[in-house]
Amino acid sequence: MMENLNVFAVRTLTQKEYFAPGHRSCQGCAEALAVRLVCKALGRNIIIAAATGCMEIVSSPLPFTSWRVPWFHCAFENTAAVASGIEVGLKVLMRKGRIPQKKIVTVGMAGDGGTADIGLQALSGALERGHDFIYVCTDNEAYMNTGIQRSSSTPFGASTTTSPAGKTKMGQITWKKNMAAIAAAHNIPYVATACPSYPMDLIQKVKKAADIKGAAYLHILSVCPTGWRSAPDLSIKLGRLAVETGTFPLYEVEHGRYHLNIDFPKLKPIKEYMKLQGRFRHLTEEMIEEIQARINHDYEQLRERDKRGF
């Protein structure tokens, strides 16, 4: 319900910034926006364990930092393990009375490489053990910080430096890994997808994830103008288009029950989303049609799940 709320609802949010401005992300970075909104929604009593990635690089160049909340930098492969350790540590310290009893939210934060590729086993373990934490994956669909190498989250047909478009191959030859479905398959209480182009929706989902007891997984699409070869002023529009074309549907899975948050009577053609991005510009009509067919199929499946409830 919160997806179309305009300017006034956003003004009732806190004005405090926990992810400080002045960090070194590129122009038009929607990932920085996503992290800022996540921090805003969670407030002050949180501990973040963040993997290496864009957000670590831009927010903590020694001796500066953008974090006004406790923040822990860990390796690519163990974000979820570190977050679960923090959560259990806090629990034990509270039980022993070393620190006062209060609600401290533990957050694991990583990019798509740190989640879908390298950190997957740690994440799977943490979700299966059922730690009370939130895992936030900010998905910009490639290893952007090291120079746009493909990840398993890169969509089909996208040209990256390790899946370049040329005579023999047309960019990425595999489909995007459905991380939200993998997380939902662990039967955790809450899984959701969000996008910073819909800020109220994102904030409500983060708050819900913090309130729920048990593990929660949030998959946030963050537009990356550098890697997607798009104009920096189009980041918000691209995020909206990704949702409106059905490429990245916004839904949540609560205790196994699917709920599509925003549904359109008619999806926009995928071409509108692709023509704004340089990484798709080599695609031929047939390939676009193939992608369109796949997206329609996936979206239809999601709609059915929404109707059925599971």
């Binding site: 319900m1 919160m2 709320l5 305009n6 006034f8 009732t12 009593n45």
Partner: protein, 237 residues
């Protein structure tokens, strides 16, 4: 900056700030329901009661609208405060027995039994929706009606809130989540204010993106051209 003490911890607040915001900034938890940063403090829910000691005299006061001063000492966990807080939450739960958040808060404060006669209200009368509507939105669509125990938050004359632009700000701020919104086809309804607005559809993609009435108001106020809101935010280039 004004420095003072909360629970023995030295904190600093800007001049004109109130105790609650300084405490929350310093990570000291004080339960509260009717406080929101975007509007003026109101002191309706009384849950943020604290004990303030000034020049040797102590008094109980709501921390959300008590300005910070030099040489005051604030206690948020004293026996007196906890007792008062337990009483308030007991009264709140008795007024709105169906509310989950209130029950959770009560359980946290150690209140198990509720001795008062239960009413079947759902609104805690914090007035946050009306204050946001006045101060943030500027629509003045809703206000308190009646006084005393008959006080309630209703649309004007118990009918339909004609000035409501269905922006959803009240839906977001409501601390107990009783103001709800419904979107069906081309209509958006704020259920509690009994107001249904037709949605405008985009000329390019055909998706509904905002209520007609709201866009007309914006257009009038900002003196925008007539076709300004013909296309939705995404289709606008």
């Amino acid at each position: 900056m004004i420095s003072f003490k909360i629970d023995g911890q030295s904190v600093e607040g800007k001049e004109g700030a109130h105790i609650l915001e300084v405490a929350l900034d310093a990570g000291i938890e004080i339960p509260h329901l009717c406080y929101n940063e975007s509007v003026k403090p109101y002191g309706a829910c009384r849950l943020c009661l604290v004990e303030v000691t000034k020049k040797g005299r102590s008094r109980m006061t709501t921390s959300c609208n008590y300005p910070v001063m030099e040489e005051i000492e604030v206690f948020t966990q004293s026996e007196k405060v906890l007792r008062a807080r337990r009483m308030i939450i007991e009264l709140l739960v008795s007024m709105c027995p169906g509310d989950k958040l209130l029950q959770e808060m009560a359980a946290k404060m150690g209140v198990q039994e509720f001795r008062f006669k239960k009413e079947d209200k759902d609104c805690i009368l914090c007035g946050l929706c009306a204050r946001v509507c006045d101060e943030v939105v500027g629509a003045h669509a809703i206000q308190f009606a009646s006084r005393g125990d008959r006080r309630e938050m209703v649309p004007p004359f118990g009918g339909e809130a004609m000035d409501c632009i269905a922006c959803g700000a009240c839906v977001v701020v409501c601390p107990v989540d009783v103001v709800r919104m419904k979107e069906e086809g081309d209509e958006r309804t704020i259920i509690r204010w009994k107001h249904t607005l037709k949605m405008k559809s985009c000329k390019v993609c055909g998706n509904y993106f905002a209520p007609w009435f709201q866009l007309e108001k914006f257009r009038e106020k900002a003196k925008l051209p007539k076709d300004f809101y013909d296309v939705c935010y995404t289709c606008r280039s």
